[in-house]
Symmetry: none
Subunit: 217 residues, 4 copies
DNA sequence: TATGAATGAGAGTTCATTCAT
DNA sequence: CATGAATGAACTCTCATTCAT
């Protein structure tokens, strides 16, 4: 045995611990997603989440300060992942319309694969952030990033004259709302078809509106 | 004095009782709206609602079977009123686009005057209807009526060629979602301006889309 | 108009009022019997008793101080009636055995016609008299009178040598207990036959015991 | 140290947990017995029972589903123990009369040592089993077993000619009722003497009746 | 670290009782 | 007197959180 191997041992040790810790954290978040999706925030009990992750009740508290923190961090994780998914599909030198198309598609595809999370999101959203804004700041920030991305694309399109005048944020909100409601309906109807088949509809409506182009306006 | 006056007395009596009962019911609903808006369904306690209406806890139960019923009936009342407000602003022989304009305006004006209710609606919506669909049926029906109205207007516009092809319900959902998100943002930003100033934006976006008409497409 | 008629008027008035008052009191007691029998003391609500007697809730309180008083007075009435029924069937100059026979028969016949009351009695008896003996004193007294009657008959039989030695009260308790349990069983089995068909059995057992007389003892 | 000791360790572990759990359950049952005896089912609060067992309110619910279950399981435990006590005193090859003697003595001795439970039993018995028969089935079964035991002894005595003709169950009911009432009286009188001193009286009355044997019948 | 039993604050709900009409 | 709406104390039960093992 030499100093090096000991050192290596130390060096290894931490990361493994860390990795294990991350793994357990992820296990619990996954269980929380299942249970929150199935029952909603209030009806879900920590006990049930723990059991669903194959841990004991107390263990959850070693990874999350309290129930609301668990909920918030689940949101952060999921919305962060949505952001990542979008960035991944965004080929940088695209024109704004093309980019928007990519964003919408990525967004729809993301919820296609995250139905349980969307059902949490649609049902209770960030409804708990009442007064206690503080703890939600991270999630709100992430959502704002997403809106900002949409808004910036629109704004850049406005500069090139592709988009009409108007407050970019309002356009972004409206687009986001359209997707939201359509996703909600898809979820509730238990439609087996993929959500992303609606991307085209959303984009067309957002870009062209509902009126017939045949009509001279 | 004749027999008729006695009869009149009897005739009057019931209505007064009924009127008073309705009044108290309304008092409690108003208090419930305040408290639910401020705290959300779960954090709101019957005790607090009762106090806010200046009644004792038990009194609430003379008017509503239980907490969820109170919540549901508040929804029914409010969504019914939204429906009424819309119908009132809808001058029958209007063309679909005109009618849609009226609906959107009425919808926005309604929430302008019902901020507290919207904050309940936006936050928790009908998220409690999990499994217990039965009790929510009335509310769901009312919401469907509203969506149907939008869908029918679009459909009739499609027949006259004003609107593009597409499933009317999807258009309706999208329009509803746009309004939803814009209202949500308005509420959260504590914007002092009237919500209805956004009606024009919503309609233009829905009808014409976001792309510049200048561009030949 | 003369003094006499006025006087008569006064004389009549009171009694009628009194009679009406007694009538209403009786109505309520009858309703209480029905409801207590069906649901037990705690599950029975004053509201339901009042409705069952076709009065308003508050009216009950004009005739009975509170719920327990109502219960107690129902007991008093019923046990007093049992006493009366027994005395009625008791032809004074009978020998003790004969008299006992009459008492048992009257007792069984009484509950034959008072099933609802017995079901109250069997179920909860005087279980509420815990600590608050005071209010139950009257009922206890009446029950003691009944036991005393049995005890005195036995005692007098002992003096004439018909009955064996032993504390008369113990004999009385045992006899009462036998009838009690047999009545309880009859009630629960929903036996359609009359309870009084068991009188013979009870008497024979009490007088002769269960052992075969054939056996020399 | 060998693998076996480790194994033993594991083997022990479970039983200790189990034993502790049983102990706590028993603590709570004992407290429930005290409180139910003192106040009756309805007036007893879970809070008070918990405090009396030195636990917190919620703890009771870890061991018993709800208040009625606690009550029922107390009954089951106690009546099962009565059965056990009786069987223990029953030397198999005894003749029916002898056996009956043993049963009565065991029964009386049991309540001598279980005054609090008897006061629950005498006061409210199984009066809560109204409609909700299901949950009481176990207790009813145990009580029926006890009655059956008495009935079978009598029946076998009838076959050997020691007992008179008659429905064995009626004899059993009567005997049970005699003991019941005598126990009730003993409890209420706060008699310091042992209940079992009454066994002789009960048996003699049940076997021989109250009439004097001197008399030729 | 992991466990899960224990905690106890807190909520919904009921209903005996009161009292203005 | 009769009414029945209002009251609010009291109770059962849940569950997030803690902590001894």
């Amino acid at each position: 045995m030499n100093g090096r191997s000991f050192s290596e041992h130390r060096v290894r040790r931490r990361p493994r611990r860390q990795r294990e810790r991350q793994q357990r954290r992820a296990d619990i978040l996954a269980a929380a997603e299942r249970v929150f999706a199935a029952k909603g925030f209030h009806a879900a009990s920590i006990e049930e989440i723990a059991r669903s992750a194959d841990y004991a009740t107390g263990t959850v508290y070693l990874y999350f300060k309290d129930k609301e923190t668990l909920y918030i961090e689940l949101f952060e994780e999921k919305i962060r992942a949505l952001g990542a998914a979008i960035r991944q599909h965004l080929t940088p030198p695209a024109d704004p319309v093309q980019a928007l198309r990519q964003v919408v598609r990525a967004r729809m595809a993301y919820f296609d694969q995250n139905r349980p999370f969307f059902s949490i999101y649609a049902r209770e959203g960030m409804n708990l952030f009442e007064g206690r804004d503080e703890r939600w700041r991270g999630v709100v920030k992430l959502y704002e990033n997403y809106l900002d991305l949409l808004a910036r694309l629109i704004q850049s399109g406005q500069r090139t004259g592709v988009f009409r005048r108007g407050r970019p944020r309002q356009f972004a909100l409206a687009l986001s709302g359209m997707m939201m409601q359509i996703t909600r309906d898809w979820l509730q109807s238990r439609d087996r078809s993929a959500l992303r088949t609606r991307s085209r509809f959303v984009l067309d409506l957002f870009l062209l509106g509902s009126q017939s182009p045949a009509r001279s306006r």
